[in-house]
Assembly symmetry: C2
Homo-oligomer: 684 residues x 2
Amino acid sequence: MKRTIHLLVALLLCGQCLLAQEYTSRTLSLMPWPQEVHKAPGKLVIDSSFSVSVSSKKGRVYQKAVNLIRSITDRTGVFVNRGFPRIQQSSTVTIQFDEVAVLGEKIDESYELSVSTAGAIIKAKTDVGALHGMETLLQLLQFDEHSFYIPGIRIKDAPRFAWRGLMIDVARHFQPMAVLKRNLRAMAALKMNVFHWHLSDDQGFRVASKVFPKLQELASDGQYYTQREVKELVAYAGSLGIRVVPEIDVPGHATAILTAYPEYGSKKGESYTIERYAGVFDPTLNPANPEVYSFLATLFKEVSSLFPDPYFHIGGDENEGKHWDQNVEIQQLKKKHGWTTNHEVQTYFNIQLEAILKSYGKKLMGWDEIMTKDMPTSAIIHSWRGRNEGFPNGTLIEAVKKGYQVVLSNDYYIDRMQSVLHHRKFDPLKNGALTAAQEALVLGGEVTMWSELVTPLTIDSRIWPRTAGIAELFWSKAEVVDDPNFISRLKTMDLYLDQMGITHRKNKDQILRNITKSSTVASVQLLTEYFEPLKIYERNKDGVEYKSFSPFTLFADACTADAYGALELNTLIDEYLKFGKERTKKEIIAILKRWQRGYQAFKSLAPNPNLVCLTEHYKAMALIGERLEKALSNTVALRDDVALRTTIKKLETPLVDTEFMVLPSLKRLFGHLGVALAEGGKKS
Amino acid sequence: MKRTIHLLVALLLCGQCLLAQEYTSRTLSLMPWPQEVHKAPGKLVIDSSFSVSVSSKKGRVYQKAVNLIRSITDRTGVFVNRGFPRIQQSSTVTIQFDEVAVLGEKIDESYELSVSTAGAIIKAKTDVGALHGMETLLQLLQFDEHSFYIPGIRIKDAPRFAWRGLMIDVARHFQPMAVLKRNLRAMAALKMNVFHWHLSDDQGFRVASKVFPKLQELASDGQYYTQREVKELVAYAGSLGIRVVPEIDVPGHATAILTAYPEYGSKKGESYTIERYAGVFDPTLNPANPEVYSFLATLFKEVSSLFPDPYFHIGGDENEGKHWDQNVEIQQLKKKHGWTTNHEVQTYFNIQLEAILKSYGKKLMGWDEIMTKDMPTSAIIHSWRGRNEGFPNGTLIEAVKKGYQVVLSNDYYIDRMQSVLHHRKFDPLKNGALTAAQEALVLGGEVTMWSELVTPLTIDSRIWPRTAGIAELFWSKAEVVDDPNFISRLKTMDLYLDQMGITHRKNKDQILRNITKSSTVASVQLLTEYFEPLKIYERNKDGVEYKSFSPFTLFADACTADAYGALELNTLIDEYLKFGKERTKKEIIAILKRWQRGYQAFKSLAPNPNLVCLTEHYKAMALIGERLEKALSNTVALRDDVALRTTIKKLETPLVDTEFMVLPSLKRLFGHLGVALAEGGKKS
């Protein structure tokens, strides 16, 4: 029913294109969904004669063509005769582009792709457009029992937004080069084009400075990027068509900077140390100290010179100014200028940074706190605050109305561990009625991966596959959010990312082996199908539980948002309650039996403290499973008794920082079976 | 029975120490097994007060102490209060060392470790010895349902051999820095101390030269290490107490070098191209051309300057001299010197390299072909040839008798995909009766990982866990090979390596998901429990099947040596035929039932060409399973019929480059059940 409604809505919105889309999004798992998709006759079968030709060795296409051949052979097992691309020779796949794009400003990213039995042709104005076409081709790979092939198709495609970003916070937990590189490859596969590198925060300063070496020596625990590594990453991203925007967060989130250079702090004589907890902290640069500006001018000159991109992010968020209120110089400065709020002080601070950056040919970008009176509209506003920060409509509309260019990140905070379906509800342009001129100021969106609870072991599982579903918002037509086949496409993308070397699946298994101290993880794996990490910062509430060196190899770290088991069961119960089909009931019963078998297997594992803490919830899940299964199979009617109530109470409580995602559905099923239970438990 | 015999032999050999060893190797999974292990009272429980203190921040210990704390918290889930080591303060773990070792020559690697309820103390003369003690401490972590702890113990330990090496061939398939670094960490965990870096071969030249840039520009497909990366890896290895010995293979295996600089080849006017196949090829440097020596002198000067180690490996193997025979200058050279063989030519060549390297303060090391008349005994012989190369007793004895220092690699060729139990049969000193003086010339052993069929995706599963079992030969007492608990210790080490981030397990699952195009891999996983890759170069026979860019994501790449399922079933059938216990029979029946269920599950997977090719063998396995299961449970007597014979014939044939490892045992079981089958099938 829900699906049907979606489909109708979709058809109403845009019959023609969505007919095409609907027609193929069942069979093709493209993501982001292209602007125009048309079926064409025939199919291109992959065999040993598979070959690739590029129109020029210049630019980004040749290396990507090598990788395309490797990807096709790795995924099909076909032994190709030609392991390297040819230049302008007739081949199975022909790639043509006119010019090599210079990243940094809006460029032509469009491409056309056509596939027939004879071969595939990709045409693009720029090499970056051609890269997108190649990613689409790779996603088109299909199979049957006889062969792997690419179906006949005609695609015309171009992005909806110019800014399709992912921010990674490498300050709270350092992320090695290899982690960043593989995530850049995944970004490219999803046609994302901006990597926002959050390089400094209270917990660490991560880029080496030659002018201020104490920054990495005293404020990084030895975990930082050398300038050569920064250049290497920028070049690597560039080869994938991805821009890199650095962020040095000031004047707040500056504990690391002040650990190295306390003299620039707002609290006289204070000695600072690297922050180990998560939260908002007081150490702040001193806006009344002229040396702070020469320090930043020198530092920004050095750091910004490593990045060809015109944008430079100064952070500017979450400065509560406590240390400012205690600082005499700053009070005098306020009096002198007749300022009443610290916002005015921060504007004074930001405006000077804006001038400094402009002198280096850089545009200042900052979190939306920088949008204060007198802030020049040349600054780019990074809109992050929303409902939870007291801005019911977010800050984007205010920004564009004031004439600022905006990048939207509010509602794309994936560290909140919410469902991708939640994030997909928020279209960068749907936040309110905007004029065409105002819409033009919305550059696009950016997914933010804050890393207080995220390590190299788990970061991929926090970013992917959810970010694929959000990236689609940034590239495809707005109506794509109504695609009823989205979850099935996401599951395909999930496996595709796994095949690319993204570690969301394989590191999960590693964590489960570590928890069970065995290779027999199926029973705990089953548990992770129905439990998800606590959401919206309920895990590590107020930042008091986890330090940066606490273990992140726990059950909650093996669990993810959008647990497929929960999605499946919730849907099945929905359908069963609506249509009461016998087949649906059988499927539900099968799952409930699996819970009981899972608990039996779980009990046979050698107990250790990290398993013991799971026992009570697993037992409760198995009990509920048994009661419901018997009731559904009409062997024993469901009775509302103390045992049932206690079991449910247990499942309403968090399980080591995770929550049981099917309780509301189960309760509705109880109701259907004659046991009415007061609503409760977390909403999914 | 076999185990009992082992135990008896062991006891006879060395009652005292093995009593101790036997006493604890059941309960402790240390590898390599220390020289002296004594139980002590109490146990050190890991809780939030866990802390580490080091005697000095100098040298290698401090950083390792940080990693030790991370490893303990990650594996226990305990939230410790102190995330970083202290200096000379009372702590749970106290680490003391007298001096910072300089790698490159024989150094003191001994340590003492004692653990009691009060804490753990590690004492060593050098920081490298302390590192070994810390690795042992990490391996001692135990658990019960209440806590994680380290048992009371007293250990005195030191290596048996000074050279405990692993060679990785990065020429046939390039291995990125991250792959090498994680394998170096695993080497350190096994107390290995020499990384032999095979940097050049016919298929690629992998280190950047500033003097001869064409080497990386024309002969690496863009896959090479910059000089900064080489220095970074050498420093990283050094921080782990591991030396790095580079190899530039000459005069043969030189196709890559000659692709860049054909003028130094033995064939006039020949234009060479990077080799894509595996094997022994003809392109060879020209020993009669004086410019070849100045080229090598310059290249070796540049490359050797990147490596502090005194050893420099020149290869020198498998030169058949075909191009030499066709070269007039070389014929004249032979005539002039009155040489009759190409060996004499190669000696002439090697002797000049020896002098060149000596002038740079380097010792020449080469594969055992360099051991020709007139070769100075200052050269180190790398003994690799054995039975299969026409040297029934290997070349080690001949070398030490001639007075050369030797490193043994024959019998440690893990690319032959044989069982670790095979490799463990070969003690570096057991190859023949040697005098004490001769034994002193045996520096140790080196495991060789040739990479014709090995990519970054699979290399960990080829090296580990087998290399752990071989590393034990290099460190522990010779009698350790008799330990009946070895396989169970190996399985623990297998999981420990997985927790360290070694990818042998997780990449296997990735390959299986790629083959099945699904997340439901259990049925194919089951198959990999009984099939192993073809051994001793039967896969890619004569190097004609696989090119370097062929897919290595196939079923054979998911399979490994020492398939645990096969090991288990072979042992069970052994025991059943010997003792006929009912319990053993039940376990066998359970396995045979699993085969049948596995095949059913397999059939429900969406077929693709890489699954279809597995069907017939899986079907045969399920059929045999059914027949045997029924016979063992006395439901249907086993009859010798055509169906059975055909099924067995099928299982005797390779399955896409793998073989069925339990057929000989099954045949013995057939015999026991009244069906005598002519022996056949591969030996396991």
